[in-house]
Amino acid sequence: MNRHTVITHFILIVGALFMTLPVWVAFMTSTHAPETIMRDGLQFWPGGHFLETYNEVLFEQGGVMKKVTALGMMKNSLILGIGFSVGKVIISMFAAYAIVYFRFRMANFLFWIIFMTLLLPLEVRIIPSYKVVADLGLLDTHTGLIVPLIASATGTFFFRQFFRSVPDEILEAARLDGASTWSFFIDILVPLSKTMIAAILIIMFVVGWNQYLWPLIMTTKEENYTLVIGIKQIYQVLNEGGELPQFQKAFALTILATLPPVLVVLVFQKWFVKGLVESEK
């Protein structure tokens, strides 16, 4: 190895440590007793309280919060992640199909509206959005949680780019065979888009699972909390209590909130990277 290669590996190792060490330390610290953490600070190696802490956090009610367990919050997060990604893929595939494959008056105008929703996420219009959902009686419901998030048309944008890369000859051939608009879509375009659909499902699952501000303001009941917003509430309680702060539980919760999206991204790494990069073009 020459000097240049050594430096390259050194930079990469420092970068990899920077990206992974915080989560490693969080995981290791979560396996220690609260007394150890208070006395010695953060931990770099496993402790003996893994089962005890995670069991308590996942299954026991009335620990730090009254009604919910991490398992319950995980279920809500899964509903949000899956509902959001599946809903988004279906709705945006339809819209992108119309925009790319049909000549109609609104097409251009529609594209600009979709572009606007990308630039102005829910955060800027959070209060009126909250009011609309409240007026529709959708607070604390899955519909109210998921549907407003779909309004940001990222998926439509992705599929538009992808459909444009599909060769024109395919449509010509299908029309010669007398395929209807619906059968072209369902029998030809959907199978062609398989990888893209998988990639966008993965990306949107992560985006949905990681939602913060919207679930935070539109869920009022503890049993509707998702993990990502739930852990913040727990963290606040941890700090306020008069007893020994339960740092190991706070760390365990951050690990649990991280685990499912990270697993999805690692397992489907190839598809996920492809889908993400494809969106740029």
Binding site: H4, T5, T8, P128, K232, T258
Partner: protein, 292 residues
Amino acid sequence: MKRVQFEHSPIPYLFVAPQLLIIAIFFLWPAGQAVYQSFMLEDAFGLSSQFVWFRNYSDTIFNSSWLHAAWFTAIFSTLVTLLSLGFALLLAVKANEVIRGASTYKTLLMWAYAIAPPVAGLMGNLMFNPLIGDLYHFMNSFGYDFDHKLHEVDAGFVVILISVWKQVSVNFIFFLSGLQGIPKSVTEAATMDCKSPTRRFWTITFPLLAPTTFFLMVTNITYAFFETFGIIDTTTQGAPGGATTTLVYKVFQDGFRGADIGGSSAQSVVLMLVVLVLTVIQFRFIERKVHY
């Protein structure tokens, strides 16, 4: 637009209807409401409201705390964008060079993409916790009195560090794929013409990456404006004294905590305009210099 398309028919309207309906109810209507509310002033009991022209806007924009938030947002998003892009580019270039361990490095550098900003914020918060946090003690070990609960600069440092950490992975993925898209023949020709790898990078590789960089600049600024909400809310909550309050965080604080609907709506509208103007500027002045 496709060269070959289906003929005129009502069918496309059916296909866009679900998307359009959702956008109309949950995007256009709330955005319109924000504009409407920004001209109205509610009385103390929320019973009646009255049209007040631009009073909410002037109250907002000439308010020192809003100006401070605007200033902080500008510095914050510039630093987060530049640092996370720079760091990610360095790592991507290096990851593209190595042969041994390439896929391991790649995985380790990109997996943090999946972590939610508020979860990253919470982890960072715990690491900087004075009771247990090693980072807190590390910062103090230089003899500098580090306290992100009290000092504005320190609080800004914590928020920026976590925001950069969270954004490096996605930038890395895009830069690496951009680098892999450069044809082998181009790099080989460059190697023959120019011995210095640094010069080769700045004269050949970097210009070829310009479209990726431009795209990432737009997404990184949007990230710094909006998605860092979760990081700020789980670390400093805008403290000390509003020093780390971004414009988005202020919209939330004034609207929900302060129940100032008119003022918060005016801020929303101003923020939308800022984002639109920024995007137009980026497209007009920067994209022109990018060669595809």
